[in-house]
């Protein structure tokens, strides 16, 4: 399955107006650690397909959205529920940590 890419243009429709839990990976091509997180995010997208919407946004091509959410470090993984950012995880983390957060948010 191809990775889902959000943009400034469709962020509201895809993320904020979504009924599901949405996870957004803020990344840029020049960010080395982003490349380490990317495969983990893709795996999570497959494992949680149908339950959680998981995608990424390139902050070089889309500056408005990262600005709005105060993103100043990459990679930043932000969890959105009912249009609100409810959790931010910065830097490279274990897949288990992401899963714990997702499971906790799905249960709440």
């Amino acid at each position: 399955m191809a990775d889902l890419n959000f943009t400034d243009g469709d962020f509201k429709a895809q993320v904020l107006d979504s009924k599901e839990l949405v996870i957004v990976d803020f990344w840029a091509p020049w960010c080395g650690p982003c490349g380490m997180v990317a495969p983990v995010i893709s795996e999570l997208a497959q494992e949680y397909a149908g339950k959680v919407k998981i995608g990424k946004i390139n902050v070089d091509e889309n500056s408005q959205t990262p600005n709005e959410y105060g993103i100043m470090s990459l990679p930043s993984i932000v969890f959105f529920k009912n249009g609100q950012p409810v959790k931010t995880m910065i830097g490279v983390q274990d897949k288990v940590n992401y899963k714990q957060e997702i499971d906790a948010l799905l249960a709440s």
């Binding site: 840029a28 020049w30 960010c31 080395g32 650690p33 380490m36 070089d60 105060g70 993103i71 100043m72 470090s73 990459l74 930043s76 931010t88 910065i90 830097g91 490279v92 983390q93 274990d94």
Partner: protein, 304 residues
């Protein structure tokens, strides 16, 4: 069972792996979830021999990894969690799995040491940072501080100067004695970079982001405030040695070395920045990796 388990995948760990695999030793590298170590967070490396045009840190690490894998090293991208070092074979836990090895090389390097001042922790990722190559573009036309006085701090400042309006290097000491002359020349000739000596940050202020810092003059104790958009921390680094409970360390946490490259446990060796606090350089770490690997071969020969 592995002949050797190498914990860490920076220049020390991967060089050790190149040597042990070429010596036909069954080698496992516990690479950590951020494999490749500190060089993954750098840009152009100009002092690694063999690259007259310089080489990008991440490219160098990828090349080392390929070289080690090419000779048969197995690489696990999980963090070391604990180990039983009482007797060979040693047991190592990483990513929820147990691995057993006749010998171990600890090459876990060092990690960012934060300032530990009020207002810092909650703003990490919101103006407080420790990796200019990762985060510098967010500070386009902004004013930032780099804290530290070594070459690492100078490099952070130079990278930031490509984006920021103004870069202020804040250093506790009166003069920059830890940075190389070549680095200092680059710093001094860059019109965007200012040096603030004899000063330290005692508090970082702001709501959700960094807005200003409280600075203390280390000579006069005078306190002043400075509006700023970002703080990059590049002070001395902390060895990643805490999880190695049975291994002897000094008061700063650096692993104690006996006889060049050995720890207090027979069969457990150490290489790189995790023990070497004086020469924290990629090439030095790689050299220690080679030394540890050669010692591992001798040790295993003795076990037979």
């Amino acid at each position: 069972m592995y002949d050797v388990i190498i914990v860490g995948s920076g220049p020390a760990g991967l060089t050790a792996a190149i040597y042990t695999t070429r010596d036909r030793l069954k080698t496992l590298v516990i690479a950590g979830k951020t494999w490749g170590g500190q060089l993954q967070l750098t840009t152009l490396i100009e002092n690694f021999p063999g690259f007259p045009e310089g080489i990008q840190g991440p490219d160098l690490m990828l090349a080392m990894r390929k070289q080690a894998e090419g000779f048969g090293a197995e690489i696990v991208e999980a963090d070391f969690s604990s180990g039983d070092f009482s007797n060979s074979p040693f047991k190592i836990m990483a990513g929820g799995k147990e691995y057993v090895g006749k010998s171990v090389i600890i090459a876990t390097g060092t990690n960012t040491m934060w300032l530990g001042v009020p207002g810092e922790k909650e703003k990490i990722g919101h103006g407080v940072a420790a990796c200019a190559p990762c985060d510098a573009p967010f500070f386009k036309n902004k004013n930032v501080i780099v804290v530290g006085g070594g070459n690492a701090a100078m490099e952070e400042a130079l990278i930031l100067a490509n984006f920021a309006k103004e870069v202020n290097i804040v250093y506790r000491q009166e003069a920059f004695k830890r940075a190389s002359e070549m680095m200092l020349e680059k710093i001094k000739s860059n019109p965007k970079i200012k040096l603030i000596c004899s000063s330290e940050i005692i508090e970082i202020l702001g709501g959700n982001k960094v807005e200003k810092v409280k600075l203390k003059n280390t000579k006069t104790n005078k306190i002043s405030e400075m509006p700023i958009d970002g703080v990059f921390v590049a002070i001395s680094r902390k060895p990643n040695s805490e999880a190695f409970k049975e291994i002897e360390k000094d008061e700063q946490g650096f692993i104690k070395v006996h006889d060049q490259i050995k720890t207090n446990k027979e069969g457990v060796f150490v290489a790189g920045d995790v023990h070497n606090k004086y020469y924290q350089q990629a090439i030095v770490a790689a050299g220690f990796g080679a030394m540890a690997a050669l010692e591992v071969s001798r040790y295993l020969e003795k076990l037979k």
